[in-house]
């Protein structure tokens, strides 16, 4: 079978394939998901908020991107978004990575909302593996894409068993894992995906955000929603909820440190830094992982003439 030529004059798509696509998009209900799917997801979100940190199963829909590429976060975004919303999408702090741009394009097409890179201006922020450096306020919702929602998966492969452990708040296996880590390496070696206790009850996987971001979950002003599309789970951290990383009395939880380093672009010494290696010259430098934060700082510092556009 041969595919029709994707040309404006092709018989398969009168008026051109691009227009056909646009028309196709308009035939979907607002924000792609049908209304019953949205209603189910919203109900699940309410349940997740009522039980902070508890994983609530939901019927994850097929999305036009592959499972594992942010379908969970995307479904939450689409279930919550309205025409007045302002959306920001980041991928490991970056506004312009392929994943983030694709999701932005898709949501823009099906929901027709305004996009922004400014953390302050957004009402919905979908994120992969980072929390923005700027503090969020009560009107904003941060939506995480989660690969593995089960924090106990590391120590227990059976889903039936991990559910029992959650039901009975039996988290000794996770504690034992951390104890063994300390015995073997002299410190806790968990980098990203550091397990946290939410509201003193449920052990939660905060998605693979660096430890640096964990203190931001604790008693925040805004709502955090987490969703794993492949694993079909939604969970939430409501505003003003206690979120405590597991730690021992004599081995306290520590965030990443960047002693003596600062962002080579904006000079920030108090943000989470990415290491950048210049292969050509063999040099290493550090830049802010949160590109919008970095840009904002540079714009504030630089003379106005140079500001627009920046040096992308």
């Amino acid at each position: 079978m041969t595919r029709p030529e994707p040309t404006p004059s092709g018989t398969a798509f009168p008026g051109g394939w691009r227009r056909a696509l646009e028309e196709g998009a308009s035939r979907y209900s607002y924000a792609f998901l049908d209304e019953s799917a949205k209603r189910e997801i919203r109900r699940r979100i309410l349940k997740a908020i009522a039980l902070p940190g508890c994983q609530v199963p939901f019927g994850s829909r097929e999305m036009p991107i592959a499972r594992g590429w942010g379908t969970g976060g995307l479904q939450l975004t689409l279930a919550l978004i309205g025409p007045e919303d302002v959306l920001k999408v980041i991928d490991q702090g970056c506004d312009d990575s392929v994943n983030a741009v694709n999701i932005k394009k898709f949501v823009g097409r099906v929901a027709g909302v305004r996009m922004t890179t400014d953390t302050r201006a957004a009402t919905l922020i979908q994120t992969r593996h980072r929390i923005p450096e700027e503090k969020l306020d009560s009107g904003q919702v941060l939506i995480f894409q989660v690969p593995i929602p089960e924090p106990l998966r590391l120590v227990e492969p059976s889903e039936r068993e991990t559910r029992r452990m959650h039901a009975e708040a039996d988290y000794s296996r996770m504690w034992l894992y951390l104890y063994e880590d300390i015995v073997r390496y002299g410190e806790i070696t968990v980098g990203a995906r550091y397990p946290v206790m939410v509201n003193g009850r449920y052990l939660m996987d905060p998605s693979p955000i660096p430890r640096w971001d964990l203190p931001r979950l604790h008693r925040a002003e805004n709502l955090f929603l987490f969703c794993a599309g492949r694993e079909k789970r939604i969970y939430a951290v409501p505003p003003h909820t206690d979120v405590e990383p597991l730690s021992f009395e004599d081995f306290a939880f520590r965030v990443e440190r960047f002693p003596g380093r600062s962002c080579s672009r904006c000079g920030a010494g108090d943000s989470f830094l990415d290491e950048v290696i210049d292969d050509a010259r063999g040099l290493r430098s550090w830049v802010c992982s949160d590109t919008a934060f970095c840009e904002k700082r540079r714009r504030r510092k630089a003379p106005p003439a140079e500001a627009p556009g920046g040096s992308r």
Binding site: A169, W175, R184, E249, F251
Partner: protein, 281 residues
């Protein structure tokens, strides 16, 4: 004196049951399998008391239901019927003399962690063989809410010293250990939270004779030092003679004789007990 542990009418049936199971099986009828529906009555209407500091033995041939009793008491299995009271657990359960089998799994697990220690015949059941010996002990302490690595390690090394496991091997996984040493780590783990009740399920079975003697020696001296109420399950009359003061003889899931250990071993009344005592090599 009030008993530490009281068990009444403990019954465990595997299979659907037909309503006549209890009437059609018993030690007298020489079977624990209901001929009508095929259900197995692993233990039927077992009742006994255990007093503080006492060591009670349960003896019987394999399949007589002695391990089932221990597993029921440790909440590893759900009973079909029966009542189970533990004097020390009453405060935690919120009310005097409550039936522990009626509690939620969450409450039962708490009582188990706080008040019970168990040593299985197979170290695989009681230990995580890939986690270090110290970690195995730490697991119970972590369950009990210990959150200080230094203090956990202190307590773990104290226990390992007591059970004669070389401290140098504290951070090695028990799968590298010999059978006797694994058993001693298991004992250390069981004792870590200072339980009121210790359950020993065929602790020396499968060990060679000299190691058996060492483990029994250890258990006896620990018993003298700590005075924990202990339930010893064994098919080995030597173990029963050495460790226990009172003994229950089980057959086909039923208690057929009970009394002081010496009395049972020297002057058995029930024909089966007589056979058992006489078949010792």
């Amino acid at each position: 004196m009030t008993p530490l542990l009281a068990v009444r009418g403990l019954t465990k049936r595997f299979g659907a049951g037909c309503g006549e199971c209890l009437d059609r099986t018993s030690a007298l009828r020489e079977t624990n399998r209901c001929p009508r529906c095929g259900a197995i009555l692993a233990c039927r209407e077992v009742s006994f008391d255990l007093y503080p500091g006492e060591v009670l033995g349960i003896v019987g041939e394999s399949g007589s239901g002695k391990s089932t009793v221990v597993r029921l008491l440790h909440f590893d299995l759900e009973p079909t019927a029966g009542e189970y009271r533990l004097a020390v657990a009453d405060a935690a359960a919120g009310g005097g003399g409550r039936n522990l089998f009626a509690l939620s799994p969450f409450q039962r697990r708490r009582i188990r962690n706080e008040h019970m220690g168990i040593v299985y015949q197979n170290p695989r059941l009681g230990l995580r063989l890939k986690v270090s010996a110290g970690g195995n002990i730490a697991e119970r302490l972590l369950m009990a809410g210990w959150r200080h690595v230094g203090r956990i390690r202190e307590r773990a090394s104290e226990l390992l010293r007591q059970t004669e496991v070389p401290l140098a091997r504290m951070d090695e996984p028990p799968r590298n250990f010999s059978g006797g040493m694994q058993q001693r780590v298991q004992i250390a783990k069981a004792l870590s939270t200072r339980p009121a009740l210790l359950l020993l399920d065929e602790v020396t079975t499968g060990l060679d004779v000299s190691v058996q003697a060492k483990v029994l020696d250890l258990l006896r001296s620990l018993q003298r030092e700590l005075g924990i109420a202990t339930l010893v399950v064994s098919h080995d009359l030597g173990v029963i003679r050495l460790l226990t003061s009172r003994t229950i003889v089980m057959r086909h899931g039923e208690i057929i004789e009970q009394g002081l250990s010496d009395q049972i071993l020297e002057d058995p009344q029930h024909p089966y007990t007589q056979l058992l005592v006489n078949s010792v090599l």
